[in-house]
Symmetry: C2
Subunit: 215 residues, 2 copies
DNA sequence: GACACGGGCGACCAGCGGACGGTGAGCTA
DNA sequence: TAGCTCACCGTCCGCTGGTCGCCCGTGTC
């Protein structure tokens, strides 16, 4: 219990430093720089990260929670890990990944970023996509959902709608939208987002057909 | 034995028709259009294709052999199958392959092109690459190896050298070379070619270092 | 007909992208 | 402190990309 407290204080400290420090990655081997008590020295199993809560832009989560700026920062960190993996691969003349693959997650973990893992990152990709594609809309959604006291799951679900609206406006080609954005292009398009975009296209097609018939 | 004869006559006929017919793909369900004798009606197992021999450009292989123009044509057919798979995927709102994947090979087989298979196509990718990137050099190599009476294996091996020379001239980035060529970009870079390109880069680096020291 | 050569492609493998839901952290009363 | 909510991430799964070498078609004598 006490060990846990310390671990997570360290975690948030790292995050705040990052915000001030202008974002350069120096977090390999930073483990166990403070106290080494309890089951923290890899004696027990890894502690899970604090859950996310809906925060407004710029707001730091209080208590045993993490905020959404921190969530999005994780995506930027993954991008940096990918770039490093790419440099190594090119240097060795090996296949060079263009996406955040298992290999990148493995590299991140070895580099000490044990708080990054595949299921988590994949879970929130579409939320990050909205943040990338229309930060204003994303920010507004966060404010509204925070005010309403909604939980993270509800906010996550709600991210789909404005995203599909964007996709619709641009011709329903979600892959093209991801690929043409420099920070988004390294992430696989989530299946559900692809499906929603596609059924929205079908809806539009049917609607326009009906209009055609009616006129 | 007799069944085999007929089957392969049909095979070559298809290929010749293709050359005249200006290349449009109408070969789904062309199976069993002539005789239906023997074990050919899917009674037995699939017959393997005739082996390739080294032929000069334009030369049709004689006897129970296939020529290299036919080999390269197989790559064009795969490209057409990929394009069809892409159209279907886009239409259904599914992930859209950019490369010739297992899915494309499966589609080709279902469409009746049972003579296309993954190990074969992967085996000769670098030969096709040379054909795409410098047809003159490729043609000359074929003529020389035919004249010398070399077998296909020897010709295949020999394709690496001029290819690595091209890669070297363009900065050792084999992925960039493949990706920037419209017909080559759909093929995965063969591991061996990547390794050869990389060690050639290292050789060049060492050489230039030595020169630096000596001067 | 028998034999040797050589290459076509069936079948395998490590690891991939993708998904789910049981723990167990965390909050409230 | 007990109870109960909910989301983190260990772990699984259908396949993928990549490869090897067996089997047998083929030419020769």
């Amino acid at each position: 219990m006490v060990a846990m407290e310390k671990k997570n204080k360290k975690q948030r400290k790292r995050w705040r430093e990052k915000m001030n420090d202008d974002d350069d990655d120096d977090d390999e081997k930073v483990e166990d720089e403070e106290e080494n008590e309890g089951k923290n020295i890899n004696g027990g199993e890894r502690q899970r990260e604090h859950p996310f809560i809906v925060t407004e832009p710029g707001e730091v989560a209080r208590g045993k929670k993490n905020g959404l700026d921190y969530l999005f920062h994780l995506y930027e960190q993954c991008r940096e890990f990918l770039i490093r993996v790419q440099v190594i691969a090119k240097d060795r003349g090996e296949k060079c990944p263009t996406k955040v693959t298992n290999q990148v997650f493995r590299y991140a973990k070895k580099a000490g970023a044990s708080y990054i893992n595949k299921p988590k990152m994949r879970h929130y990709v579409h939320c990050y996509a909205l943040h990338c594609l229309d930060e204003d809309v994303s920010n507004e959604l966060r404010r509204v959902f925070k005010e309403r006291g909604e939980n993270v799951g509800a906010w996550r679900q709600a991210c789909y709608k404005p995203l599909v609206a964007i996709v619709t406006r641009q011709g329903w080609d979600i892959d093209a939208i991801f690929n043409s954005h420099p920070r988004l292009s390294i992430w696989y398009v989530p299946t559900k987002l692809r499906q929603l975009s596609h059924s929205e296209r079908n809806n539009a097609a049917i609607a326009s057909t009906s209009v055609g018939i009616n006129c």
